[in-house]
Amino acid sequence: MTKKTLGSRPEIEVRGLHKSFGDNQVLRGIDLEIGQGEVVCVIGPSGSGKSTLLRCVNLLEEPTKGQVFVGGTELTDPDVDIDAVRRRIGMVFQQFNLFPHLTVTENLSLPQRRVLGRDKATAAKVAAENLERVGLSEKATAYPSSLSGGQQQRVAIARALAMGPEVMLFDEPTSALDPELVGDVLAVMRMLANEGMTMMVVTHEMTFAREVADRVVFMDGGVIVEDGIPDQVIGNPQHERTRHFLSRLLDPAMAEVEEETSDQVGKGD
């Protein structure tokens, strides 16, 4: 792991990113920098390309054009060891994606052993530490199917943390959860943010974005429309599209029936 010597170098850097699925242009030129320790929430309507952008940051989606750098390494370089770079990037999915055939502890320790080559005892120790961080030590021997959605998502966060990542990506981490389970997951994310983790979070949780994020990025139609501090983007949006999105989100009952605008056809995935 290369410790950065250049303090000015952003942890995540996206340059001129384009992504198309067939004829469908989902991302149309994204430029974004996220500094070390910064928490950036990406918001926007469904189909705006925000999840695709996140997935391009660890190359789960191959960009059509443009560059992605994480910790100074260019991921879009065809000769880069992508598995090695991904070890430094933790990812949390909407659907948790825990390994159902393994216990909670095994979910955390197997990747450490197979990918990082840690021995059994070390992997178990790191697994236990990270389960404690997310408050689920008592579920160590349980299987994922016996956990609630909120617990599964916290295990998924712990699994990513056990690899010792420098950056964490969250893809709508609370969207699949029952409302009463959202709080526990957000609390863990808040803790991570306070510890100084660099985080990029695609979310619909405006309260979280407002309170925890250093910056909020609003995307629509495959481009970044607005980028700034939460109070500015959420509290005092400059663009009509942002205002429109926020008013719908904050008060869905007030939304009016209207024609689909043709530049929003891009579907996330």
């Binding site: 159902p100 197979r114 690899m163």
Partner: protein
């Protein structure tokens, strides 16, 4: 009853003919009558004395033991298990070839599956027994008859198992591979550590069914020509049947097959029920 019918008629006009309930009991009644009639007809028509004489001679049956178990059943199990092992390994390779991003691999795997699924197992046995020694003079398939059976059964089983394994791998949600890759697993390692263990859980019932099919197909070994020591259930039963001019050995051999296949079928149903439960 009679008091209310008048009111019912006015509220709900009666349809012509039978009610739904009457139709249902009539239909069930007919089915029972047909069943009982068929059983009686069979029992009366069959010549039970001759049947017993030909198929259920206690003395002949007793004469088969213990070899029918210690030799014939043992060999049947041995042929089946070795064929299954070869089929599983080969089937896994073909399944992975079928899912490969390399075109020729996919194509080759597809051709293999079509050929070996389309040919009768009998032809494969004859091919292994006759054609291979002719084509490659001097080559000896290791393991003698056991090796030949394992190869012939394995070649057939691999075609079916490859399709089953491929379906199992594809049934594992896409998110599992994505999660593994995002943790830094290489594609091969993710396949081995994460995807294949889950796929096997899914395909355990169909694989066990394949084992039952192989168990029966192992009888085809008699087309390879076997020594006395290599005889399995069918050959053993047939030999004894011709020796004694009586079919009792065939019946005993058949019962020995069922001794294994029925419990296996029970296990498969249990596994399927458990899998259903897990999905819910």
């Amino acid at each position: 009853m009679t008091d209310t019918t008048g009111a019912d008629v006015e509220l709900q006009p009666k349809k012509k003919g039978l009610t739904r309930r009457q139709k249902r009991s009539l239909s069930r009644g007919i089915q029972y009558v047909v069943f009982v009639a068929a059983v009686i007809a069979f029992a009366v028509a069959a010549d039970w004395d001759r049947l017993q004489n030909q198929f259920a001679q206690k003395a002949i049956a007793e004469q088969m033991f213990p070899e029918v178990i210690t030799l014939a059943l043992k060999n049947t199990v041995l042929y089946t298990v070795s064929g299954f092992a070869v089929g599983l390994v080969l089937g896994m390779v073909i399944a992975l070839m079928r899912l490969s991003s390399v075109g020729p691999y996919r194509w080759l795997a597809g051709v293999y599956i079509e050929i070996f699924r389309g040919l009768p197992a009998l032809l494969i046995f004859i091919f292994i027994g006759v054609a291979v020694p002719l084509a490659f003079p001097g080559t000896e398939i290791p393991g003698g008859t056991y090796g030949k059976v394992a190869l012939a059964l394995g070649l057939v089983a691999a075609a079916y198992m490859a399709e089953t394994i491929r379906a199992g791998i594809q049934a594992v949600p896409k998110g599992q591979m994505e999660a593994a890759r995002s943790l830094g697993f290489s594609p091969a390692r993710a396949m081995i550590s994460i995807i294949i263990p889950q796929a096997f859980r899914i395909i355990l019932p169909p694989l066990t069914n394949e084992l039952v099919l192989l168990f029966k197909d192992s009888s085809l070994v008699l087309f390879l020509g076997v020594t006395l020591e290599e005889r399995e259930l069918s050959k053993f039963g047939r030999d004894l049947a011709s020796q004694t001019a009586n079919s009792t050995p065939i019946l005993v051999a058949g019962l020995c097959y069922l001794l294994v296949t029925i419990p296996l079928g029970f296990v498969v149903r249990r596994m399927e029920a458990k899998a259903q439960e897990a999905v819910k």
